[in-house]
Amino acid sequence: MMVAVEKDKGDSLMEGDNVYIPHVMKIEKVIEETQNIKTFHFNFKDETQKAQFGFKSGQFAEYSVFGVGEATFCISSSPTRMDHLEFSVMRVGKVTQAIHELQEGDEIGFRGPYGNWFPLDSIQGKNLVFVGGGIGLAPLRSLIWNVLDNRDIYKDIVILYGARSPADLSFKYDLEAWDKDDRVNMYTTVDRGDESWTGRVGLIPPVLEEIGPSPENTVAITCGPPIMIKFTLQSLEKLGFTHDQIITTLEMRMKCGIGKCGRCNIGNIYVCKDGPVFTYAQIRSFLSAEF
Amino acid sequence: MENRLKEEARKLLKEGKVDYIVGYGNGTVKFRTSPLITNKEEDIESLVINPFIANNLSRYPTEIKGKLGIVVKGCDSRSLVSLMQDNKVNRDDMVILGVPCEGVVDIKKLGEQIGADIDQAKEIDKEGDNLIVQMDGSKKTVPFRDVIFDKCFGCEYPTPLEYDILLGSEVSPRIEIEKSLKKIKEFEDTDAPERWRYWKEQFSKCIRCYACRNVCPACFCERCFVDVNIPQWITTYGSWQDNLVFQLIRTLHVAGRCSDCGECERSCPVGIPLRSLQRKMVEEVKGLFNHETGVDKDAFPVFTHYEATDPEEFIK
């Protein structure tokens, strides 16, 4: 069984456009997910631009705070819900700090969508296992909502989400919604609980093995911090998933987002243009143990 | 000298007294030498000492782990001592092989002197006070003193001050400090706007390759202030303003640690006369605090120390 992952062919761009010029967008809502993660709902200022815009789950964009700089994040909302767009940011450096200071009504620069996307076509009619850790749920939730909005064309859906502690769980409103939704099997886990936590406690890989989804006609899609990915991949292998049944996203520092500036180059791959979505089989083919 | 070096280096490696020998080998470009860093005895034969050993190798002990047998000229030895004062290197981890130095040839000057590209020279030998340059079908004799780096005229310590093994006999210093400072004095005599224009023009050329910083033994910060982005003191791209501020701050950071080895200027691909700034600071630090870089092993780094009697006539 193969899931095909495509390359970004740059067709999101219209002829004559200057690819480096961002759209000016308006922040409509700011959600404080955890103490260092925020989600921003944002929208085009121009209705025509909005009507022309399209993207696919898994694609990312370059976001900028004018005067501070640009940074790369995935579009975390679903293309099936184009009322507004969303992105989520963990505060780690200069630009993310500036983004965190933004409030409703402020403006950001936005250019994209860039990169490839989750292979929606080839996962049709399959069981789906989503495994997300921390802010790694951001790209997954775009796909999850996308899938749920077309629920009938997919088989069983398992979502496993984990974070370090209950306070570190992002997208609690999504988690709640999926928990209530009988069309999905939702599992939430934390590495360490606290007094009020009544849910599951445990690291993602062992919990995944305990849930034990069958690899039969199934695709696993995983995203999270590198250490979690590493062990999740091992668990999936243990459960019998082959390398092309596993889809993940790579993260490298990016600047241009369009395969020129050279930062995200690993082997002959530019993560921005050839990824960020890869099957585990693909990653194995170009990425040796180190880079 | 070269044979003595090979002999000593071989012995050091063989006896396990050092893990690496850090010296000079022939470069792959005509008449240039290149750092030779090796732990293999068979490479020892490639070590050279000649009038072209420009690099200041004292940059390496802060990077390479293990015991090093390191070849130093006078100025390099002072850089090394300065690093010891700052606790950046440990004296016990090094066997210092001192090269008494009569001056290093500035390839650019040599080219000007022979009126041709140095590529066209076949062979160059030092005979007494002259360099004999063999060209295609001709031979040119150039006085050695006309082709050495400016810094070498101001060198008061051509013989290394700190060493375990001195590879040759001591060299007496050139008493031509005036000649070495000539450019600085002339520059100081121009008026302030003229000086500012000069540096503005120079730093417009800067491409921020950071070679000046990276070759400098005194630039040992774990993270350079230009690489800090919160707060961002200096933009990462090169406007002349930022280039100049970067270099001025770097100059102040290495003031009192600079042995005037001139590597910053030699390395600069766009030919900014960086040594002018550095040498000026050497003079000032000496004049103000009677401190010379790396001359006294037991001295404090100049800016971690103070005297109650330090000059302060400029303070209101």
């Binding site: - | 302030a192 000069y198 701050i249 102040l252 000032e284 303070i315 209101k316």
Partner: protein, 145 residues
């Protein structure tokens, strides 16, 4: 036209324990000193990185005053002694590259020296006024000057 309207704009980095208190005293004693100065309080004159001085000038301020406790009076024992060494070379370097020495001034002002503070600021601002607006870091082409 513009020249007649121009007023120097300078910054003063004053140490918390002496010079800032001195400036405070000037104020509470209702002594006048030029309004051209904006004061930034720092813990100690030793805190002043030459970078602050250069960045202030780069950003278009006409002058920078750094003031701390008299030698021997430093709240942190030796902060001002270290600062003194730093400033001594800094001013030499700035002068060497062509920055007018009048633009950068160092002083020792104690908490009790209100009048001295006023005097220092006054003299400094006058000195800066003499050398004129700081155009050092202006890019002629970009700013059309």
């Amino acid at each position: 036209m513009e020249e007649t309207k121009w007023e120097p704009k300078v910054v003063g980095f004053l140490c918390h324990w002496c010079s800032y208190a001195g400036a405070d005293l000037t104020g509470s004693a209702r002594m006048e000193y030029p309004h051209n100065i904006r004061i930034i309080r720092v813990p100690c004159s030793g805190r002043i990185d030459p970078m602050f001085i250069l960045r202030a000038l780069q950003n278009g301020l006409d002058g920078v005053l750094v003031s701390g406790c008299h030698p021997g009076d430093c709240h942190y024992q030796s902060g001002n002694f270290h600062a003194r060494r730093k400033f001594a070379v800094t001013r030499k370097l700035l002068e060497y590259v062509g920055i007018e020495p009048e633009r950068v001034q160092f002083s020792w002002v104690a908490a009790s020296e209100g009048p001295k503070m006023a005097q220092v600021v006054k003299e400094f601002v006058e000195g800066v006024r003499k050398v004129g607006p700081n155009r050092l870091f202006k890019d002629e082409i970009r700013d059309g000057e």
